[in-house]
């Protein structure tokens, strides 16, 4: 299983703060996971269309090539705007 989290505007457009799913076969990195999640259609379409989407694996910001493994916590979110 992997844990997926959505934040801020992405959370609102998807209408969910996250989900737990089995690591899909063939999904080994962030880019493939994102494509897999978006391919399920609405309400996850914004995972494909959102500009500059950021990602964290196990609470560390990573780029789209980062590996994904069973047990990981993966977060998708817009560019941060704190401070």
């Amino acid at each position: 299983m992997i844990k997926i989290l959505y934040f801020a505007g992405l959370r609102e457009s998807i209408g969910s703060s996250g989900e737990e799913i089995a690591l899909p076969p063939g999904v080994s990195d962030i880019a493939r996971l994102r494509a897999h999640l978006a391919a399920r259609g609405e309400p996850w379409g914004s995972l494909a269309t959102a500009r500059n989407l950021r990602t964290a694996v196990n609470q560390r910001m990573v780029d789209e090539g980062a590996a994904v493994q069973d047990g990981d916590e993966i977060a998708f979110f817009p560019p941060v705007t704190g401070g």
Binding site: F7, G9, N52, Q59, A75, F77, P78, P79, V80
Partner: protein, 160 residues
């Protein structure tokens, strides 16, 4: 026997409650005679330009499992770049009104060059790397604040 001198310390907090800038600075400087310089920064909820009275509130969302780690990582990078005596970072979350303080960064060092540089570095990295998101409420409803290109540029300066 060597005298027991307190080592470098730092701490980050993510909290709903307001903070007391003066008390935080005083706590850092107290009993630390090697500190000659304390640079600090406070970020406040600002009235929207051209729209006075238009902003009624702002909500700060964050990623609870990650925020402390992200802030500690940023502070650790600052400590790796400059000789610092102490660092304190407080970031508020939840609902805030115009004029409310959002973030505090305090950096203590022997000399001011290091204190200023590290304080600005921490803010620049926090603005692009720490998982907080602002949603503004105005008369027209709520909207998520867009990230500023200027913030990316400010953070990029430090990678030289």
């Amino acid at each position: 026997m060597p005298v027991d001198i307190p080592g470098p310390a730092s701490s980050v907090s993510v909290q709903h409650e307001p903070f007391d800038v003066g008390a935080e600075i005083a706590a850092i400087a107290a009993g630390r005679p090697a500190i000659g310089a304390v640079a600090s920064f406070v970020g406040l909820v600002r009235e929207l330009p051209g729209c006075p009275g238009g902003l009624s509130a702002m909500t700060l969302e964050h990623y609870p499992g990650m925020t402390d780690k992200a802030l500690e990582d940023i502070v650790g990078q600052a400590r790796g770049r400059w000789q610092l005596q102490d660092v304190r970072v407080i970031h508020r979350v939840g609902r805030l009104a115009p004029g409310d303080a959002i973030v505090l960064v305090v950096v203590a060092a022997a000399h001011r060059g290091e204190a200023f540089a590290a304080c600005e570095f921490i803010m620049d990295y926090l603005k692009t790397r720490a998982p907080f998101w602002k949603k503004e409420e105005t008369r027209d409803g709520g909207h998520w604040v867009d990230a500023r290109d200027a913030d990316d540029a400010a953070a990029a300066r430090w990678d030289v």
